[in-house]
Subunit: 217 residues, 2 copies
């Protein structure tokens, strides 16, 4: 593996680690806000699992000779704009934001991981596969939404805003990070226009995700 | 073991679990506020360890036939007054609050654990022994304080306020929870006046803790 491939891998691993760290922070905050003690306990376990996943990614960065702290630090502000533009107005909007936001981020990292060396790819896919917090969001949103048509309509609208902003984050990342474009291009090697294929794929996954909740994407 | 001993044990285990849950929430919030990425990563690991400790205590409650959620829930508000009265004004005050607050709480639970059955006592002592976040607070406060006389004087004052409020929490707990008084009395069986001995012991431990930071208790 050449130096170039190393540094591209470290850049994607840094992003995955940052996203898991953000997931920890968000799940911990969700735990503090959750309406019942059962949810508070469960969300704290999800937060804890995100720390464990993040540290697995950081360990991989160390393994391939990178500086894990520096790799994470470069993505410190990656979701600041997204968060500022998508302040949830209720517990349900908060859950959907996590579900949609993590969903797009995970799908993007999964697609970019196709450009990684086998060892790093295995770590990323394992970590992303392990993100069980989506199940909670689905169960809760499904239970709440099915009983309330107004809520369903509002959440569908909210989901459209979320995915638009999330795709905007991906777009900015690709402009700022040529390494990520290179990695994504490997996964889209059959395509004449990798970014177009990428956004098509992310949108399709989002639509599937919303249907699981009975919401129109 | 009689039903009475079971229910006393469940009451103390519920308190320990709640305190670990609060530790998780506080460490997670500290992680979000910490000045450097290194601290953010480290504090998130401490938060995650608190979840793991809490779940060990909850598992013990289940083992002896209790309802873990109900046991934790009864202490939902245990630190609300303490928190309202001790809003930290800086990162250092926040660190000292955790160090002093956890310190008094841990010492109280350790003393009350002397009244538990051997299995539950082992779990509580193991969990309390494992609370390594104090080391971080000591290292940081020590580094900051030794270079700054004004900060040292302020923190000494803050420490006195914190311990006063913390001992107030213990006092209210003993008034509201006869089970805890019974458990503490076992540990103080040589004493004519168990609560007096308890507060003497808690104060002595606090003084030792403050000296480790070079602060006057």
């Amino acid at each position: 593996m050449g130096t170039l491939e190393h540094s591209d891998a470290i850049e994607l691993l840094g992003l995955v680690a940052q996203l898991e760290h953000v997931a920890f922070a968000r799940l911990a905050a969700d735990s503090a806000l959750a309406p019942t003690i059962e949810q508070r306990l469960e969300l704290s376990r999800f937060a804890s699992a995100a720390v464990e996943r993040r540290d697995r990614v950081l360990a991989r960065i160390t393994e391939i000779g990178g500086d894990p702290v520096a790799a994470v630090r470069q993505y410190d502000d990656v979701l600041d704009d997204f968060d500022a533009r998508t302040q949830p107005g209720s517990w349900w909007e908060r859950l959907l934001k996590a579900y949609v936001g993590y969903g797009v981020a995970d799908d993007f990292c999964r697609l970019a991981a196709e450009g990684l060396d086998a060892g790093s790819r295995a770590v990323v896919l394992e970590v992303l596969d392990d993100a069980s917090h989506a199940e909670l969001a689905v169960a809760e949103l499904d239970a709440a939404g099915s009983a309330d048509g107004v809520l369903t309509a509002r959440l569908a609208l909210w989901g459209r805003r979320l995915v638009g902003e999330a795709l905007g984050v991906v777009q900015r990342l690709l402009v700022q990070r040529p390494a990520l474009v290179r990695l994504v291009s490997v996964g889209s090697s059959g395509s004449a226009n990798p970014p177009t294929k990428l956004f098509g794929e992310l949108t399709a996954q989002h639509t599937r995700r919303m249907s699981r909740l009975g919401l129109t994407a």
